[in-house]
């Protein structure tokens, strides 16, 4: 497999926790500009895969490359974030005691050292960027609201907004519609499709209606490796996938 023209390239990746193989010889390639949905039963290793890509977990074996050339296993979380990989956690994680605006302000692309932050003044350009993002994530009227007051679904959106503020090349989105109403789920599918127009995206999700909405290539993980890959119809017709989902 060639790494050129890939935004993310995993080959033969394995990781064990106390002898338990959470990721087992996983290979996965994402082209530049592609959006991919990842499904798989609980414990399949979807979140762990994101931990490896974002530098939280070091793989025991295998190659992890970003943008065809950067070896991600050699960098830590902050460096990887600065290279342009944004991540939404499975459990929505925003800064609860700050306002929506402050949450986005802290995420906004820019210098990441202490002294600029200490003497930072909010510029008109930043306000405009934040306005844009607030529009995209449908929280325009909540600018000065404390994040703790948002609904579960709105927190998910805010976190996605924080990813956008980072201006990453690749977004890893872990279970974005968990706990959302049907209407919110539909809205989120639209939002992610918008984002995918100029970003590469990996979406992990259990909700099959949502995955169908996205209408993109699907990878099914099971026990730490790829079980099946293709269109949603192809994957859901795959006997092995049916088997792991319906129980053994």
């Amino acid at each position: 497999m060639s790494k050129s023209n890939t935004i993310l390239y995993l080959d033969g990746v394995s990781v064990s926790f106390d002898g338990f193989r959470a990721i087992n010889n996983l290979s996965l390639v994402l082209d530049k500009g592609e959006m991919r949905a990842i499904i798989g039963p609980n414990g399949a290793g979807k979140t762990t895969m994101m931990d490896i890509v974002t530098g939280k977990t070091r793989p025991d074996a295998g190659e992890v490359y970003f943008d065809g050339e950067v070896d991600l296993t050699k960098h830590d979380e902050a460096e990887i974030a600065m290279m342009g990989i944004g991540r939404k956690f499975q459990k929505p994680t925003v800064f609860e005691s700050h306002t929506i605006e402050e949450n986005l302000m802290l995420a906004l692309k820019g210098p990441r050292s202490i002294f600029p932050a200490l003497f930072h003044r909010r510029s008109a350009a930043e306000v405009r960027q934040i306005d844009d993002i607030l529009g995209i994530i449908r929280l325009g009227d909540k600018r000065d609201e404390i994040a703790a007051n948002l609904s579960h679904g709105q927190k998910q959106w805010l976190e996605i907004g924080m990813l956008l503020a980072q201006d990453p090349k690749l977004l890893l989105v872990d279970e974005p519609v968990a706990g959302m109403t049907d209407a919110e789920t539909e809205e989120t599918a639209r939002l992610l499709k918008d984002i995918a127009r100029d970003h590469s995206v990996i979406v992990v999700e259990h909700d099959m209606h949502f995955v169908r909405e996205l209408g993109v290539k699907v990878t099914c993980l099971h026990e730490g490796s790829v079980l099946s890959e293709g269109s949603l119809d192809f994957v859901s017709a795959d006997e092995r996938v049916v088997e792991v989902y319906l129980g053994r």
């Binding site: 979380e77 902050a78 974030a81 994680t93 005691s97 306002t99 990441r112 202490i114 404390i146």
Partner: protein
């Protein structure tokens, strides 16, 4: 939203009032001590000046702890060490000012060195005959220790109770080291019998008043600096690290540097507090490194309300006033009272005195609004009860209403 603004403004006003009070006290108390006749009802006796001057140093120490504990969740149980190091730096200067007026009359060596048969001044005492040098050391020694300690601790991602334990270990190790006679800091007895500071007799009423004023002005300045730090984008980041550290990392921030800066600034503040304390109490000994001292600071901050700037100051003043009273009446029960107070505050006043005050005022306001609305014959719940407004002191440390707890990521 309007409520949010109002409360925010309220918090800033509170800071301004605190600074104003401190500056006023810095002028008025010395005047009432020096310029008023002792028979007057307005006379402030010298022992009160000395006592409150000491409390102001404790308040500065509590404020220093608040910056790291209240705003970044770093529960340091070793801040007493930074305080003591600042105190020792000042104590060394004061020792050098004694000159040949010591018991042994040695012009070169402090008394304890003569007693311990030192032949010459140890190298680390060089420079301490100059006030400016001692002043730099007051800042540099605690700052450097905090920087090195924090560098290793935060980089290795030591957090929570483990971090608290190693800060205790740090102050305990220093306690043992400073107890040793061959360390060159006076061992068990520490440094004492001071005569002059900047040429003025440390015992004189005027000097004591000046030290009091210096303490009050420094505290006012520290309140301003802390408020400015906490209100900056860096301050938001500090709280973000407290509430969701891994989220900040995945946004590209180096959480360890964020903590390191606050920890170092806080240690420097604690060192200044110690330096102001020593000339007022006239002694510094290894007892200041006692681990229980550092724990007491945590109690002050908790009682006043952590993460509120003003709270820990109030806590330090109230608890120490209580301590002075208690140790006069029932000395053997003070530690039990302190322990009981901490448990009670943790259980019943998790947001401390300031938090209680705010929620009481918040309720009163909501009630008043409701009754006004009722009188006007309108729907009483139009003035929506405040939701989680920005904690009265824009302090996420105090979680009002439904508490957004710090949460682990994922």
């Amino acid at each position: 939203m309007i409520t949010g603004r109002f409360f925010a403004a309220g918090a800033d006003r509170r800071i301004a009032i605190t600074i104003f009070i401190l500056l006023t006290v810095a002028i008025v108390v010395p005047l009432l001590n020096l310029a008023v006749s002792p028979t007057s009802a307005f006379y402030v006796p010298s022992y009160i000046v000395a006592l409150t001057g000491k409390y102001l140093c404790y308040a500065l120490l509590a404020l220093a702890l608040d910056l790291v504990w209240g705003y970044c969740g770093i529960l340091s149980l070793g801040h007493g060490a930074f305080f003591a190091l600042g105190g020792y730096a000042m104590g060394m200067y004061l020792m050098r000012q004694i000159g040949s007026r010591g018991v042994y009359g040695n012009p070169l060596l402090p008394d304890f060195m003569v007693f311990l048969n030192y032949k010459e001044l140890p190298w680390f005492w060089y420079g301490f005959d100059h006030f400016w040098f001692a002043a730099i050391m007051v800042l540099a020694v605690p700052g450097l220790l905090a920087f090195v300690f924090g560098w290793f601790a935060f980089r290795s991602r030591v957090t929570g109770v483990y971090l608290s334990i190693i800060t205790q270990a740090m102050t305990y190790a220093l306690l043992l080291a400073f107890f040793r006679n061959d360390m060159g800091f006076g061992g068990n007895n520490g440094l004492t019998d001071f005569k002059d500071i900047l040429g003025f007799n440390v015992q004189a009423d005027a000097t004591r008043s000046a030290l009091f004023a210096a303490g009050a002005v420094t505290l006012a300045l520290a309140v301003y600096v802390t408020w400015a730090i906490v209100g900056s984008k860096y301050g938001k980041l500090l709280m973000a690290v407290r509430d969701a550290e891994s989220r900040t990392r995945f946004l590209g921030w180096r959480a360890e540097n964020v903590k390191l800066f606050a920890f170092t600034v806080s240690a420097v503040m604690a060192g200044i507090a110690g330096a102001l304390y020593v000339p007022q109490v006239g002694i510094i000994n290894p007892g200041e490194f006692e681990p229980s001292n550092s724990i007491e600071v945590v109690v002050w901050a908790a009682v006043g309300g952590r993460g509120t700037i003003v709270g820990p100051i109030i806590g330090a003043l109230v608890v120490n006033a209580g301590k002075s009273w208690f140790t006069g009446v029932l000395p053997e029960f003070w530690l039990f009272a302190l322990g009981g107070l901490f448990v009670a505050v943790t259980l019943f006043l998790p947001k401390g005195i300031i938090g209680m005050w705010d929620s009481w005022r918040g309720n009163a306001k909501a009630l008043r609004a409701a009754s006004i609305a009722e009188e006007a014959g309108t729907d009483p719940d139009v003035p929506a009860p405040p939701k989680v407004v920005r904690g009265a002191a824009r302090t996420p440390g105090d979680w009002s209403g439904s508490s957004p707890e710090p949460q682990p990521a994922e």
